[in-house]
Symmetry: C2
Subunit: 224 residues, 2 copies
DNA sequence: CGTGGACTGGCAATCGGATTCTCGTTTCGA
DNA sequence: TCGAAACGAGAATCCGATTGCCAGTCCACG
């Protein structure tokens, strides 16, 4: 669980030493501390199922000081943003792998969409993709979309770029027919990424939008 | 601006009297006060462009007491929810009118989608639809979607129902072909209602998703 | 090896806002 | 007209985030 807890009593001593040695300079030490803060925050999110942990809790759990926290982060929002970036990093890598497993343009696009849908489903029976509860982070990303869209765009660039490339390839192969690829990409991205929001609204009812449904809708929407 | 400001010096005296008389019983008086609180909150939202007004401000502006506020609302969230309901009420009425102006099932569906898109665009050159700045309220509705989906569903029921009926009618007329109408309705609703979010992410770029784009995407997505 | 400045840990202090509480006053229905 | 309920005005509380303060530590440099 606590990936980088140096104080973890189970961690072998040699590892602690190695870490201490290799991280003996100031910059590395700072990075290690930042990582500990992030880990602590992830743990708290997983436990509480929401982002309403207090900075104090994060600091206590990561055995650091409040002073230190504000040394590295300008505030709680910056911490959350960092968590969001971590998540996107992880997802991007996984999406890349999923796409590479296919060769046909349309199949690659499909793989991407299905996988993205899975990543964006913050509930599910058991946090299938990714190591952490993503609900509170998705929530934060929406706030960000409203308060500071550019920041979010920047963070999502890797994913958006991948989608646009896949769409372009599919268009080139004649698998789909769209006018403006970027515009289409927006609609697809929205349909897939936020369908969890709608699924949630469907609620109890047996109406659930699956990854397949989203794919089918996008496929036709793109004029395949 | 201040629809129900009894203290408005410009308001004719006879109106004040009429209001006082007709609202002389407790229940009506309470309703008038609630309305004043809502009006004050709308004004503050319009002025600030965000929902970060304080309860104190609302109370001061509506010439009421903090005590009174908490008499009628369980907290700030309840106030925001009331504002959301007002908005939905207004939008529903307008959507109904837009739909009634058409007779062909597909044209009615189209009218609905285009108009809904306009309502959900909280920016625009000048708050085209509705009397108030809706951005902060949209923002609140997303929080609600996460924290208490059922509440939001309940509030949106009129709109959802209308969409489902239009879809059913279109299906019956053979204008579109979908399996599960409700599922399709979710996807459409999502595509239309939250495209402003994506438009915002597109940002500066000349990539903007218009109501027409959303309509086209939905139309194909539904297999027309 | 010594030292000054940067980094830290641990708190207490400050701040902004929501929510509650207190206590006279006013209002309204019976 | 009487008493309960509602009201107005503030003061008082609560909660967290964010800052300020001060005394120990660490580290690069001379």
């Amino acid at each position: 669980m606590a990936k980088t807890h140096a104080r973890d009593p189970d961690a072998p001593t040699w590892r602690q030493r190695a870490v201490s040695k290799s991280l003996s300079n100031a910059r590395s030490r700072a990075e290690r501390r930042i990582q500990q803060l992030l880990d602590a925050a992830f743990e708290l999110i997983d436990e509480k199922g929401s982002a309403d942990f207090t900075i104090q809790e994060v600091v206590d759990r990561s055995k650091q000081s409040l002073r230190g926290f504000y040394q590295y982060f300008d505030g709680k929002d910056e911490l959350l943003f960092a968590l969001l970036e971590e998540n996107i990093r992880e997802a991007t890598q996984d999406l890349g792998a999923a796409v590479e497993a296919e060769s046909e343009p349309l199949a690659r696009l499909r793989a991407f969409i299905i996988r993205l849908h899975e990543w964006c489903e913050p509930l599910g029976t058991g946090r299938k993709r990714g190591a952490h509860n993503r609900l509170p982070i998705s929530e934060f990303s929406m706030q960000l979309a409203v308060k500071d869209p550019e920041r979010l765009v920047a963070a999502m660039t890797p994913v958006s770029r991948m989608l646009i490339e896949l769409l372009d390839a599919a268009v080139a192969a004649g698998a789909v027919r769209v006018g403006d690829t970027r515009r289409a990409a927006l609609l697809v991205q929205q349909t897939v990424m936020y369908s969890w929001l709608m699924s949630r609204l469907a609620g109890k009812a047996r109406v659930q939008v699956s990854a397949e449904d989203a794919w089918a809708f996008c496929l036709h929407g793109l004029g395949a």
